[in-house]
């Protein structure tokens, strides 16, 4: 066990890969929206593939990353979430039990968004996601299904916007109560509660290996499951 920290000491909370990933996703979601509304679909696809790679990386990182990034450290049962809301939770490092589930919701909605995009077909049929080739051997059916999926892609984006709004509202809520969530996501450092165990960065080779694996998977999918 790492030594417990004194109260108020600013120590590592979010490791570098987690922070970098967070801000890259912020930027690429914005870019995806912009490129879709301006009909730059080749750019839109590239952005989506990159987000897919980042999401895959985040999942891997949820198992091999620094402690605060691991699913096992922040996914707690409904009782813990309830206790936390009632103010009876233990001193926390990282995601609260509620925040942990909101991260999972965000990841799921992002995965669904990318997944739908991979099967979407544009209105003139010429542009389509790389997995749309599996929709049907009948081009008319494939086109109809791909269009239906494109609509779902659009609807799910609204769900994503709602989650982003909720996310920002939570950040604002804590800010009003005197807790800065934004700073640590930028600098990585936060004042941890007394007695909290230290978050130690993991070796860089893990990030590199995870990134390579995630990128390889994303490229494979982007090529329509072709090598």
């Amino acid at each position: 066990m790492p030594p417990p920290l004194a109260a108020g000491e600013r120590r590592l909370l979010w490791d570098k890969p987690t922070r970098l990933l967070h801000w890259l996703i912020v930027g690429l979601v914005a870019f995806s929206w912009w490129s879709a509304t301006h009909e730059h679909l080749p750019w839109h696809r590239l952005s989506g593939y990159t987000i897919l790679g980042l999401l895959l990386f985040r999942v891997i990182w949820g198992f091999v990353g620094a402690r605060s990034a691991r699913f096992g450290s922040f996914l707690r049962g409904p009782v813990a979430a309830f206790d936390y809301v009632r103010g009876r939770g233990a001193a926390l490092v990282g995601h609260s039990p509620l925040g942990g589930w909101s991260i999972v919701a965000m990841l799921v909605v992002l995965f669904v968004q990318v997944g739908l995009g991979l099967f979407s077909v544009d209105e003139d049929g010429l542009q389509a996601g790389p997995l749309s080739r599996f929709l049907s051997p009948d081009p008319d059916v494939a086109y109809d299904r791909g269009r239906a999926i494109a609509h779902l892609h659009h609807l799910n984006f609204r769900l994503l916007l709602a989650l982003i709004a909720l996310h920002l509202a939570a950040v604002a809520f804590y800010a009003v109560r005197g807790r800065n969530l934004l700073g640590p996501m930028i600098t990585g450092r936060a004042a941890l509660p007394a007695g909290a165990a230290e978050v130690r960065p993991v070796p860089a080779w893990r990030a590199l290996a995870s990134a390579l694996l995630a990128a390889a998977l994303a490229v494979f999918v982007a090529r329509g499951l072709r090598f």
Partner: protein, 156 residues
């Protein structure tokens, strides 16, 4: 003129106006249906061509077959928008009034499609897949360009 005759004449006029209106709406609705069927078929052709190019090695025979469809569509496209096949047709259509209020602009948009389709078809007949790819990009822009201006947005 007796009042009963006048009434009969009035009824005939009203009735024929109603029938005429219904017939016009019927043909307008039919035109919408034909148009939507044709556009969907074009979308399906686009999907086939897109899949071919995304595979990395497009099959020239398939490309030739589908490019023919694009080219054929260019010839019937101007006929798919008869007067009365807009919103007044009484069925759901996203065709905007600008199609009929801005005929020269619409004709130019259709012409842009015809040019791109002709280029794609000519390249396909020659088996020049790279040139087809280039023409398809024009075709894609022609489709989107016209839809942006002359078709209502799908999502609010």
């Amino acid at each position: 003129m007796s009042p009963s005759f006048r009434r009969a004449a009035f009824l005939v006029v009203v009735f024929s106006a109603l029938v005429g209106g219904a017939l016009a709406a019927e043909t307008g609705a039919q035109a919408v249906k034909v148009r939507q069927t044709q556009m969907k078929a074009l979308g399906a052709a686009g999907k086939v061509v897109g899949d071919q190019f995304r595979s990395g090695k497009p099959d020239p025979a398939i490309i030739r077959r589908e490019a023919d469809k694009f080219e054929a569509a260019a010839r019937i496209l101007p006929n798919l928008f008869p007067a009365g096949s807009g919103r007044e047709a009484g069925v759901k259509t996203r065709a905007l009034p600008a199609i009929w209020s801005d005929p020269s602009g619409f004709a130019a948009a259709v012409h842009r499609y015809a040019e791109a389709a002709g280029k794609a078809d000519a390249a396909a007949q020659k088996g020049d897949m790279a040139a087809v790819g280039g023409a398809l990009s024009d075709l894609d822009h022609a489709c989107n360009g016209c839809h942006d201006k002359y078709r209502a947005k799908e999502h609010g």
